[in-house]
């Protein structure tokens, strides 16, 4: 069941009871959860938040906490699973699902009361009609057999019944074939929908409880989707417009108060750097989509941003020269480019944007000029939305033997509050390390030409043994690596079909248990990032009888035994051929 009016259909219902929040490990979920937490705090509602990393985690968390909790809110998890079947809840428990993973499980959509999906169904979801998938007369099946065995009253009736039965059976067979194709079409692709943080923000706005912090979290949620390429660019542009309108509305309101209170120092300012000035009074500011450039050196930032690294082919020796050439054209001394951006000469810093913008065309790096939001709080706290996303991604994935993933999750949650600058800074440092490792690994892969082409898809296996490679046991760094190598491959390959090929990347997950993690990403040419690997993995596993551990909520990420990997890839190749 979809709940479209979130205030009436969700918030007011959970308001009077304690609720359980199960939150997936991703930035969007954390942002959505943070908005919800603030709303709950305003209303003095007790809640328990449990971070869940995978399906098993979710089931365990549910079982541990389900006592006396009536309302369970799933954030970015559970929507694609048949929750009632999986968790076997008591009658009185109600599930609220806020999930950006698509497609939703049909049992969740057509559940009468127990499962409620927050948000509107998208137009592109193409949800099958109820009657096509479920048959209310399913039960008549049993009745008939009962009748057949029990009622031997009249033979004539029985014969007629048999005729009817045959017709019915044929009809049913036809129906079930149709159902299978419909279901296949529906579940074939896995993709992402609207950011959950945005949905939560819209709810807060409808309740007029929104504030600048909330919009900032919503911005971060949607920025993450854009950075990781989870949604098509068209949608994220639309979202940006929507967010920008809210930012100006909220800053206006806040500005009036500030004038009264004369608290200039502690104001929170979110600025939106726009590509083209639509209004004359809006100050023209281009923004650069370079990773963390405010907190890094220009050289490193150029090297580790995907658009520049791909267009300049920075993984090769020539690329290195090209980077030097770009810096020379910009008129940026090498010594300066190796300094932290904040320590560069003021004049260079002020001109930096224009310099890059002027040369973007020449070096074919137009994509680095775009739009972004920046938050400024006081004098020292100035961060771009993408900076925070990278910091949070690095924090989420920073679990190690001494630190539980759940602890990392709470760190990432803290990272969002304005007062925890030290956590954010440590996150940014970790993000730099992560980006460096991603770049270095991609460089090795590209130089050694380790990308294999099976004809229908590309695959790359990250070699074992390197000390840095343990970070690829986590899904997000692996996803970033896969996206980077795919783009780089497509850009440098002579194969004309390269843009149409998806990529599968695999790395060691746990060396002792001989498990590896595998991820599939859609091809470059598709604007709408729908991935067919979710189903394909499942099917390939079935064909090879290998055991895969699809514990992640994103079905395009799986774990399997290392020994079974070659066999699995072969099966995948024959399946997709």
């Amino acid at each position: 069941m979809f709940v479209e009016n979130l205030e009436r259909g969700f918030y007011r219902l959970v308001k009077h009871d304690r609720c359980l929040l199960l939150v997936n490990f991703d930035v969007d979920a954390i942002c959505a959860c943070k908005i919800l937490q603030l709303l709950f705090k305003y209303d003095n509602m007790m809640y328990t938040l449990v971070p869940v990393q995978g399906v098993q985690d979710m089931v365990r968390a549910f079982e541990e906490n389900c006592e006396e909790v009536k309302n369970i809110i799933f954030i970015n998890c559970g929507g694609t699973l048949d929750l009632v079947e999986l968790l076997q809840p008591a009658e009185s428990v109600i599930f609220y699902i806020l999930d950006s993973h698509r497609p939703y499980d049909l049992c969740n959509i057509y559940s009468e009361d127990q499962v409620r999906i927050l948000g509107k169904p998208d137009e592109d979801d193409e949800i099958p009609e109820y009657n096509d998938v479920f048959r209310d007369d399913d039960s008549s099946d049993e009745n008939e057999t009962d009748e057949e065995s029990a009622s031997d009253r009249s033979q004539t009736k029985r014969r007629r019944l048999n005729e009817e039965d045959i017709v019915k059976r044929a009809g049913r067979r036809e129906w079930s074939e149709k159902r299978a194709t419909i279901l296949f079409n529906y579940t074939q692709y896995s993709y992402y929908g609207k950011s959950s943080a945005m949905i939560m923000f819209e709810m807060a706005w409808n309740m007029t409880k929104d504030n600048l912090d909330m919009i900032w979290w919503a911005i971060i949620g949607s920025t993450e989707q854009a950075i990781l390429g989870k949604v098509e660019s068209r949608l994220s542009v639309l979202d940006e417009g929507f967010l920008q309108a809210h930012v100006s509305r909220l800053t206006h309101k806040k500005g009036a108060e500030v004038d009264k209170q004369q608290q200039q120092q502690s104001t929170v300012k979110i600025t939106y750097d726009k590509e083209y000035p639509f209004e004359s009074n809006f100050c023209v500011r281009y923004s650069l989509l370079l990773v963390l450039y405010r907190h890094w050196t220009v050289e490193d930032s150029l090297r580790h941003s995907v658009p520049t690294a791909v267009s300049l082919r920075l993984w090769s020796l020539r690329g290195e020269q090209r980077l030097k050439g770009l810096l020379a054209d910009m008129g940026l001394p090498l010594a300066q480019s190796k300094q932290r951006f904040s320590a560069m000469d003021l004049a260079l810093r002020q001109e930096f944007k224009q310099m890059v913008e002027k040369l973007a065309g020449k070096y074919k790096v137009d994509t680095i000029i775009g739009t972004s939001f920046t938050l400024q709080y006081g004098y020292k706290f100035k961060y771009c939305a993408s900076d925070i996303v990278y910091a949070m991604l690095a924090l989420i994935e920073s679990s190690s033997k001494t630190k539980l993933p759940q602890g990392c999750f709470l760190d990432a949650l803290d990272c969002l509050s304005r007062t925890k600058k030290d956590i954010l800074e440590s996150g940014i440092e970790k993000a730099k390390l992560m980006l460096k490792t991603v770049f270095k690994t991609a460089q090795t892969i590209l130089q050694l030409k380790e990308i294999r082409n099976t004809g229908s898809f590309l695959y790359v296996i990250i070699p074992e043994g390197s000390a840095d490679n343990f970070i690829f046991a986590h899904p997000y760094p692996l996803m970033m690596l896969a996206q980077f190598t795919l783009k780089a491959y497509v850009d440098s390959s002579k194969n004309r079909r390269a843009p149409e090929l998806p990529l599968v990347a695999s790395a060691v997950y746990n060396a002792e248990e001989r498990m590896c993690i595998m991820i599939g990403i859609p091809p470059v040419c598709e604007d709408q990032p729908r991935s067919l690997f979710g189903r394909a993995f499942e099917q390939a596993a079935k064909n090879t009888n290998s055991y895969i551990d699809a514990d992640y909520f994103d079905s395009t990420i799986i774990r399997l035994k290392i020994e079974e990997r070659p066999k699995f890839l072969d099966a995948l190749a024959s399946l997709l051929a």
Binding site: Q37, N44, M45, Y47, L404, D414, T419
Partner: protein
């Protein structure tokens, strides 16, 4: 010089804000000093009375002032320790931590117990039947609920209204302040402020 030791006692009080071991040795020395002052004064005053030797009078007066000053110092020392103990009672409750308890002398322990008793008696007399705990919420709380992070596995926690909450490591909760406070002190929960 007279009064030096008294001054030392007071400056010790002034330098450290927490309760130090009761400085019995120094107090004994001060008392000895006082005794000797007193003895000298008795001798002199006898001399004045018997011999009418008025020349001794200023020195008697001086000693007397020194005597009074020492007395004030000791009383101030004792009184201030008592005041600190009183503050601790409101802050930490009726049971003192062992590191403070070892620093007290017997008389202080007795005083603390009797203070406890009278405070408890008073608090019981307040309110209807239930008594009223004056020591909670010394400062009006800003919110009734606080955000807490669970740092250690604790198990099940029952709230005042009978709801049961499972406190597991690395979970995050919004709970009533009154329930959380003791757990935060025990280090099971960690208060998170945004």
């Amino acid at each position: 010089m007279y009064g030096r030791k008294g001054f030392k006692l007071i400056s010790e009080l002034d330098l450290y804000s927490d309760i130090l071991p009761f400085n019995e040795a120094l107090i004994k020395e001060i008392l000895q000093e006082m005794q000797s002052l007193y003895d000298a004064n008795v001798a002199n005053s006898n001399a004045i009375r018997n011999d009418n030797n008025m020349a001794l009078l200023p020195s008697v007066q001086l000693r007397h002032i020194a005597l009074k000053r020492n007395k004030r110092c000791i009383l101030a020392y004792i009184y201030n320790r008592m005041r600190k103990l009183k503050e601790l009672r409101w802050e930490l409750g009726s049971i003192l931590p062992p590191e403070i308890n070892t620093n007290l002398i017997n008389a202080e322990v007795q005083w603390f117990q009797s203070y406890n008793k009278s405070l408890a008696k008073y608090m019981r007399s307040l309110g209807e039947d239930h008594g009223f705990n004056l020591t909670t919420n010394m400062v009006p709380p800003k919110t009734l609920y606080v955000e807490v992070k669970c740092v250690e596995d604790f198990g099940k926690l029952e709230l005042d209204d009978g709801q049961v909450i499972l406190l597991k490591k690395n979970t995050y909760h919004l709970l009533p302040r009154s329930v959380c406070e003791p757990l935060i002190r025990q280090g099971i929960l960690e208060h998170k402020s945004t």
